[in-house]
């Protein structure tokens, strides 16, 4: 559910501060923004600019120090515990730079895991997971391999498939091409781009790769926790 003007993410006076010794560092500093639904959004900025922190706040992986952030109608400043888990399970899919697949599970099991958590039965999980894996280019035997038996690009595709498992409206990708070579990175970006274009998903990519920014529907430039260009 998005608001009336089509924004899926609404952040208002958002702060995220960390203690560093005696001083306090603002990773996100009074950020207010509205992100439209079904677009490919790129969060640009140097290391330490606050883009990952903002991504984490949108994914409820972290709590804001103050301010409000509403994602698909859920006020993340007010959810905790089971609601927070439910939000992550159904509303967002994460794609990390280091893939973060569960090492003991096969590729297909990594994809079925979020479905299992949301209560889908075994048969449906298998069918759906194979379908998604096929779509991202992980086919046949590779679906039964463990993460370490796959290349970096393949692992990232499995991570994208896992992010899509419960059909969330938002995909949050943190430097998804950071560990990949140029060619593989391009393929991954293409998959993410198609999710926004074909499936009307909101894909938010945090990156400092300017080539990704060129294909974005909207670029948000961050610096010192603030939004400098919208």
């Amino acid at each position: 559910m998005s608001n009336s003007n089509g924004s899926i993410v609404i952040a208002k006076n958002l702060y995220k501060q960390y203690k560093q010794g005696d001083s306090v560092v603002s990773a996100v500093d009074n950020l207010s923004v509205e992100i439209p639904k079904g677009k490919l959004i790129v969060l640009m900025g140097h290391s330490g600019s606050g883009k990952t922190t903002f991504l984490n706040l949108m994914g409820a992986l972290d709590k804001p120090t103050s301010g409000n952030i509403i994602v698909d109608g859920v006020n993340l400043s007010q959810v905790s515990g089971r609601q927070e888990s439910k939000y992550r399970l159904s509303k967002v899919g994460f794609v990390f730079q280091s893939y973060y697949l569960v090492p003991g599970l096969k590729a297909i099991e990594n994809v079925t895991l979020p479905m299992e958590l949301s209560g889908l039965n075994h048969g449906d999980r298998q069918v759906k997971a194979r379908e998604i894996l096929n779509r991202v280019g992980i086919k046949d035997l590779k679906q039964s391999r463990r993460p370490l038996q796959l290349s970096g690009g393949e692992q990232q595709r499995v991570a994208i498939a896992r992010a899509l498992a419960n059909a969330p409206p938002i995909i949050l990708a943190d430097e998804p091409t950071g560990n990949l070579d140029f060619k593989t990175g391009k393929l991954i970006v293409k998959i993410l781009q198609s999710l926004a274009a074909r499936d009307n998903k909101t894909v938010i990519i945090a990156t400092h790769d300017t080539s990704i920014a060129k294909i974005a529907d909207l670029v948000l430039q961050m610096e010192d926790g603030k939004l400098v260009i919208n």
Partner: protein
């Protein structure tokens, strides 16, 4: 994929670590179950011994040990004891050693010259109405159970030329029920053959007391069991016995005296096994807590990933608890299996007997001064093991419950 299958795989992800934890855990659970088993056996043995500590008072010639030394008690003096107050009955017996050539002993031992000499054969004379023969070392033969062929004495056998014989002695001399043996010039017929399971008991022959006195030319008796009408009267009867036999003439031992050593060692075994049980259980608990803590620390990133994809604290906690339960159950089963070979050795160690069960020869030849416990490990030990495993897993699940809720995925997945 079921949570159990996933847990099994996670356990197998670090086979060496899992194996090391399993071995240590199995050892401590095994020790805990062994102590539990020994404790149960000791308590049951103590209970049965308490039942035996009753009204028996043994009187024997001063300084004697069965057939060795001390001479005999005058039978007329012994009969005087029957007149003592609160005495229910008197059972007289004689013990002697037979060195004649008519029988060969199955035992060989020191002092017999080259090749090992033959040991003397122990001969006893008992009242035919006594069902239980009390040996000089305090052991007993329950004749109703021990006689394997033929029969035991009947009251009419008094002074008859009959005997019962241990199966070891009968076998080596190729004798069977109905055969007659010339002992000290008297043809004595074998009417029964018994099996005690002990070398001492099976190398014996037993005659009615009057026959034995006649055949072995023994005047008097070598042992008297006086039965008091009540435990509370034992001390009074002992005082009465002392008026008939002074300390230079006879040794007087009450049942309580005889079982004192056993009682002490069994009480020690119970106390030690209780302490051992608690210590090994605590050690098992610490091992599982430590290993779960280690497992959580090593897999903190995995916890972060699971949280990021929407797993709740409960889901993750359940996953780790099932893994812990699996390790605990396997450890407990291995521990329970270890109990079978361990329990008897530990019991022997605790009571200070090298091989109590062998010496005592099982149920038919038991009691007395040998302080041993026959430890039978029952299949119930697996139920206890399961109980321990579940208890350990429950205790250990406290860590995931506390730890997982504190993990913030943004923190643990930061900086790669």
């Amino acid at each position: 994929m079921s949570i159990i299958k996933r847990s099994l795989r996670n356990v197998m992800r670090s086979p060496f670590r899992s194996m090391a934890i399993l071995v240590i855990l199995a050892m401590s659970i095994g020790l805990s179950l062994t102590m539990l088993t020994v404790n149960g056996a000791s308590e049951s043995e103590l209970g049965s011994i308490s039942g035996l500590v009753g009204t028996d008072i043994q009187v024997s010639p001063a300084g004697s040990f069965g057939p060795f030394g001390g001479g005999e008690l005058d039978e007329a003096d012994v009969d005087e004891l029957l007149a003592l107050e609160n005495v229910n009955s008197i059972r007289k017996s004689i013990s002697t050693s037979y060195m004649g050539g008519a029988l060969e002993s199955p035992l060989t031992g020191r002092g017999g010259g080259p090749g090992g000499g033959t040991r003397p054969i122990m001969a006893m004379g008992v009242s035919p109405e006594m069902d239980t023969i009390i040996l000089f070392n305090g052991g007993t033969i329950d004749t109703t159970e021990a006689v394997q062929s033929g029969r035991y004495f009947e009251p009419g056998d008094s002074n008859a030329d009959v005997m019962v014989m241990g199966d070891g002695l009968a076998e080596i001399n190729s004798l069977s029920v109905g055969d007659t043996v010339d002992i000290e010039g008297v043809d004595v017929q074998i009417i029964g053959i018994y099996d005690t399971g002990s070398q001492l008991g099976d190398n014996m022959l037993v005659m009615p007391i009057e026959t034995a006195q006649r055949v072995f030319s023994v005047d008097g008796v070598t042992s008297v069991i006086i039965v008091a009408d009540d435990v509370s009267n034992v001390d009074g009867i002992v005082a009465g016995i002392r008026e008939v036999f002074d300390e230079d003439t006879a040794d007087v031992v009450t049942a309580e005296d005889r079982y004192e050593n056993i009682d002490e060692s069994l009480t020690n075994a119970i106390n030690s096994s209780q302490i051992g049980m608690i210590v090994s259980f605590v050690v098992a608990g610490l091992i599982i807590l430590f290993s779960v803590f280690l497992m959580m620390r090593q897999r903190i990133k995995e916890i972060g990933i699971l949280k990021a994809i929407g797993a709740s604290n409960w889901h993750i906690g359940l996953q780790f608890s099932v893994e812990t339960l699996l390790i605990s159950v396997v450890g407990a089963i291995l521990g329970a299996l270890m109990t079978f070979p361990l329990a008897q050795s530990v019991a022997n160690m605790m009571t200070g007997t090298a091989s109590a069960a062998n010496e005592r020869g099982g149920g038919k030849f038991g009691g007395g001064t040998i302080a041993g416990i026959d430890v039978a490990v029952s299949p119930e030990v697996f139920l206890y093991a399961l109980g321990i495993a579940i208890a350990l897993a429950l205790v250990a699940s406290i860590i995931p419950a506390l730890y997982i809720s504190r993990v913030r995925p943004a923190e643990v997945l930061r900086n790669e």
